[in-house]
């Protein structure tokens, strides 16, 4: 298989697992920001392009620079976001472009909890911002807010207590309102505001719920991949029994994220 195909598969696997929910979430986030039009944006950790796309659709930007350290994700994003206002760069949050203090909005969607040093990342991001510009970010509420993940971990831990170590709810203490607020206040940003963003996550049928756990990228699919076929079937069967399907077989759950924004003095 060609490298391009492998790259596309990596991006596509993320899409089916978390990416499809990150698009409505990104739109909800931009609406919450109520940004001015004609602005210059930097999207840090753009992934497969969900937030970049929402900026283009809803914020009437003058330009968007979208960065991610993963070449497969950038490859996916540039094919998904065909907009002349967007430029893509392969770069990590630790070695962001400076922006020379000219950018109006620097945003980051579903990234900060994966960064080794979020405080340094925010300080780094703020260097690119003009005075009065805004930094805003959002992270999934892994502890309580993503029902489909919570249901998965509840069943996985019931079968194997060691699974709890992989649970994002434990691994990402930053994904809480107080921690996010402290992070932004620590970067000397003013008018720091927190909000919850909630989106519906509807699965067409049980396999639509389960299959992404078999091929996605992330802690839960990595845990599933570490199981034997027999163990995997046990988790799958328990989940199928515990989820309440609607008349048409659909499964309706909700997912919540925490959003934070602050303005550079």
């Amino acid at each position: 298989m060609s490298e391009a195909n492998d790259n596309w598969k990596a991006g596509a696997a993320y899409e089916s697992y978390m990416g499809r929910w990150s698009r409505p979430l990104a739109r909800s986030f931009i609406r919450w920001m109520t940004p001015a039009g004609g602005a210059h944006w930097l999207d840090v950790g753009c992934g497969t392009g969900a937030l970049t796309s929402a900026i283009c659709d809803l914020a009437a930007p003058a330009s968007v620079l979208a960065c991610d350290p993963s070449e497969p994700f950038i490859d996916h994003a540039r094919k998904a976001v065909l907009d002349g206002r967007v430029a893509f760069v392969v770069a990590g949050v630790e070695n962001l472009p400076d922006g020379n203090g000219t950018l109006d909005y620097i945003v980051s969607g579903l990234v900060l909890n994966f960064v080794a040093n979020p405080g340094r990342a925010i300080a780094r991001m703020s260097r690119g911002l003009r005075r009065g510009g805004m930094i805003a970010a959002y992270v999934w509420d892994y502890a309580d807010g993503i029902e489909f993940l919570r249901r998965f971990w509840n069943e996985a831990v019931a079968l194997d207590s060691a699974a709890a170590e992989f649970d994002e709810g434990r691994r990402f203490p930053l994904c809480k309102p107080d921690a996010l607020k402290a992070l932004f206040l620590g970067a000397s940003l003013r008018d720091v505001t927190i909000s919850s963003l909630e989106i519906p996550t509807r699965f067409q049928h049980f396999l639509d719920f389960w299959t992404p756990f078999l091929r996605g990228t992330g802690p839960a699919p990595a845990y599933v991949a570490s199981l034997s076929q027999e163990q995997r079937d046990l988790v799958c069967n328990r989940l199928e029994k515990s989820l309440t399907a609607e008349a048409d077989g659909g499964i309706s759950l909700k997912a919540r994220a925490w959003a934070v924004r602050g303005v550079l003095e």
Partner: protein
């Protein structure tokens, strides 16, 4: 490659200015003597993937 974009970008190692090569296939940081390739118009600003040049 977009000139405005070039003004925003910086060397990930020293945060200094990057220069576009004449054939527009690389961005170079002269103080670090590092070259960052551009693939399909996308700069790869990763230190691990940079190459040294003389």
């Amino acid at each position: 490659m977009d000139r405005e974009l070039l003004e925003i970008l910086a060397c990930p190692k020293c945060k200094g200015e990057l220069r576009l090569t004449v054939d527009e296939t690389e961005l170079r940081c002269e103080p670090c003597r590092l070259s960052y390739r551009i693939e399909d118009g996308i700069p790869i600003l990763l230190i691990d993937e940079a190459s040294a040049y003389e």
